[in-house]
């Protein structure tokens, strides 16, 4: 076989140097082996392995891969790696390969502009799924839309009665919904900045989170779910302009809500439980118990794909909703693979749980290690990593499938509030109370870039899906845009 011949050829050249050869078995992330075990020379590095995998998989275009030997990434030649870690060469070594994103995001280094406009602290920032528009909600009760090309304010959307706590773009980019402290939701048209209708009233206390129905389940986007402090989540329909279903059951405030790709709504609450709801009737499917204190944040392994819908890094625009639905479904299936969707929840009891909600109501792993409450958890866009931000000033990185601890990023001097991933999953951004943002490199597991500049605490950060820009807002009332 030409592959073995190639390997043997390489080996022949090296024989002069008396290099040893190692028996390796390539496996993919799910465990299926790729081809038979091969004798590889010790001087084989990630590049050679990449060529090998591409050939074995018969890829038309060369895809980049990352290789892991027993959960550690292989960055140097096989030989030096084996010597360093003292792995025995007599056994067959399993090398797991992971496809990496073809595109590479450049890390942001500088603040390209500081846009003032809000009269009060900026509470939430969100890029639209295609990365062309930016919206921010603030304590001065307005939602502002910003023009990214000129980096100036575009529209000011007035209408809320109290602080705008959360905003969410629909995955097709056509609607923007914002929720306020007064418990009302307003749907805006991002092209004109005008509200699409009257405020949607129903909640009695403030809105803690909003999540849209994924595009691959229904296009054009119609429904979204909102969570509130009064303990119930409501599913609203923007075309009917009313609440269709009310999901009650939690005894205390709901802190976080996510609409999963398989059509299940997950709600995490201060009563220490996570409930799964079915969306056609609003029935409770399962209750995930385990936490000892408030559940602060939820994250799904397919979250990034659900948020961006049909858009990806190529920046292609779609004309019809059906096309969008088809493309979104393809992307979703590719992302999900054959494994069930995973859910991670971060709580005030300093731990996180990794669940496979479709399989069982018991957690898969308990992730301990933080010394203060976990405020925000986020799966990487490719689902391989989980990042958690905590009030103990550190950001921790965990394996996305098993939940094992990988690395801790220390550097902040104040509680870390929010995190955001770059679209290629290679960089992680964190915003903290100490007014700095920090970019961390996943491969080297070190600080890549420090972004100081805010005058006060940073409340919200977001990385655009096309990876070009980062937006951050905080207590100092300005919105900062950072570029590479």
């Amino acid at each position: 076989m030409e592959v073995e011949a190639a390997a043997a050829g390489v080996a022949m050249e090296e024989e002069r140097e008396l290099s040893n050869r190692v028996m390796c078995q390539l496996k993919d992330s799910e465990g299926t082996p790729l081809g038979a075990p091969i004798f590889l020379p010790e001087s084989a590095g990630p590049k050679e392995l990449q060529q090998l995998v591409n050939k074995l998989l018969n890829n038309e275009e060369k895809m980049p891969y990352a290789f892991y030997v027993s959960d550690h990434e292989l960055v140097v030649q096989l030989g030096s790696y084996l010597q360093k870690n003292k792995v025995s060469v007599e056994k067959v070594i399993t090398i797991v390969y992971q496809p990496q994103a073809v595109f590479r995001i450049r890390p942001v280094t500088r603040c390209s502009s500081t846009i003032a406009g809000h009269m009060e602290a900026v509470l939430s920032v969100a890029f639209s799924p295609d990365g062309r528009q930016l919206a921010s909600g603030s304590g001065d009760t307005t939602v502002r839309l910003w023009d990214l090309s000129t980096q100036t304010p575009l529209f000011t959307c007035k209408g809320h009665k109290n602080w705008v706590l959360s905003i969410a773009w629909s995955p097709d980019g056509k609607h923007l919904v914002s929720g306020s402290k007064a418990g009302e939701l307003i749907c805006w048209d991002p092209q004109t900045g005008k509200p699409s209708g009257n405020p949607l009233v129903g909640h009695k206390k403030w809105i803690t989170g909003i999540s849209w129905e994924p595009v691959h389940l229904s296009a054009p986007c119609r429904r979204f779910v909102s969570a509130s402090k009064d303990g119930d989540a409501r599913i609203w329909d923007v075309t009917l302009r009313k609440c269709v279903i009310c999901l009650t059951g939690h005894t205390l405030a709901i802190t976080c809500v996510k609409w999963g790709g398989d059509g299940i709504i997950y709600t995490g609450s201060q009563d220490c439980t996570i409930k799964m709801w079915e969306t056609s009737q609003g029935k409770l499917i399962r209750e995930l118990k385990g936490h000892g204190h408030w559940v602060n944040s939820l994250a799904l392994s397919t979250e990034y794909v659900l948020r961006t819908g049909a858009f990806d890094h190529t920046g292609k625009q779609y004309s019809s909703p059906e096309e969008m639905k088809k493309v979104a479904l393809e992307r979703y299936n590719k992302m999900k693979g054959s494994a069930p969707e995973r859910l991670v929840s971060g709580s005030d009891d300093f731990t996180m749980f990794l669940w496979e909600p479709a399989v069982s109501k018991h957690p898969k792993t308990r992730m301990t290690g933080h010394q203060q409450l976990v405020n925000h958890v986020y799966f990487s866009p490719d689902g391989l990593w989980i990042a958690s931000a905590s009030f103990d000033k550190s950001v921790k990185l965990w394996n996305g499938t098993t939940g094992n601890f990988v690395a801790a990023f220390r550097g902040h001097v104040g509680p870390v509030y929010q995190i955001s991933w770059s679209a290629d999953s290679r960089l992680l951004l964190s915003g903290s109370k100490d007014s700095t943002l920090k970019v961390w490199d996943i491969r080297t597991q070190k600080l890549k870039q420090d972004l100081p500049g805010h005058a006060d605490e940073v409340f919200a950060v977001d990385w655009s899906p096309d990876g070009e820009k980062v937006a951050s807002g905080g207590k100092d009332k300005v919105l900062k845009l950072w570029m590479g």
Binding site: L123, L165, W206, T255, S297
Partner: protein, 260 residues
């Protein structure tokens, strides 16, 4: 039978007067006018007392009226937009503002500098000089009056020697000298008989502190080595401050509470 019971008995037997209820009603109606007459005519201290009582009554009446009025109208709850907007994940958490933390640390540093400590008895009755000292007459004709004898409990220390009697102005009688104090631990609530090391501060003045006078409220330093306390660094604590809580000259013993 008591007086009022006769009236009741009669009522039970024969009923009320035919015009009883009407008269009662009219009398009560006249009360209002009678009251206003008294209010206008009462003079002197009587008038003042009445006015005060009436004012309190009126204020209370106004309050109850306002309360009743409130419930009858339904007002839309209008939350004002507050300052200091917080994101949703911080709303239920009460975090001490940075300013408050900073001012607290500054206040603590200032207190430490000034030497002001939190003591169980912050205020004590001041002791007058003539209460503290008794004049001792001396001299052949007992006319000289420059000597004073201290009438309160004192602490002198183990190495104390009197000044030559001709020159000593303040006399501390040996009967009023104490070496030990009954010190109570405020949390453990148990009392130990501990040796006094020295008098740290007497609230009546620095002169009394230097003389070693112990009155109520004085801060003394006691030897706590038998309690077995250890600092976080690992060193053994052998002296701690305590505040005197009784009047030792009256009781014959010193009771103090440990300052932890």
């Amino acid at each position: 039978m008591p007086q009022g019971d006769y009236i009741e008995l009669h009522r039970k037997r024969h009923g009320y007067r035919h015009d009883h209820f009407e008269r009662k009603r009219k009398k009560e109606a006249r009360e209002v006018h009678k009251r206003s007459q008294i209010a206008q005519k009462a003079l002197g201290i009587k008038g003042k007392m009445f006015a005060k009582k009436r004012y309190a009554e009126k204020a209370l009446m106004k309050k109850t009226l306002a309360m009743h009025e409130e419930s009858s109208t339904r007002r839309k709850v209008d939350d004002d937009v507050h300052e200091g907007a917080l994101p949703a994940y911080l709303l239920d958490r009460d975090e001490t503002t940075r300013a408050k933390v900073l001012s607290n640390t500054i206040k603590q540093k200032r207190k430490e500098k000034a030497g002001k400590w939190e003591v169980p008895l912050p205020k004590v009755r001041p002791v007058a000089e003539d209460e503290m000292f008794r004049v001792l007459r001396s001299g052949k004709r007992k006319t000289k009056q420059w000597k004073r004898m201290i009438t309160k409990a004192t602490f002198v220390g183990p190495s104390f020697t009197r000044k030559p009697p001709k020159y000593e102005r303040f006399i501390r009688p040996s009967g009023l000298r104490f070496t030990k104090a009954h010190v109570t631990h405020p949390e453990l609530k148990c009392t130990f008989n501990l040796e006094i090391i020295g008098v740290k501060k007497n609230p009546n003045g620095p002169m009394y502190t230097s003389l070693g006078v112990i009155t109520k409220g004085t801060i003394i330093e006691v030897n706590v080595s038998e309690l077995g306390l250890v600092t976080p660094a690992g060193k053994v604590v052998w002296g701690k401050y305590a505040q005197v809580t009784n009047n030792p000259e009256n009781d014959g013993c010193i009771n103090a509470v440990l300052l932890v």
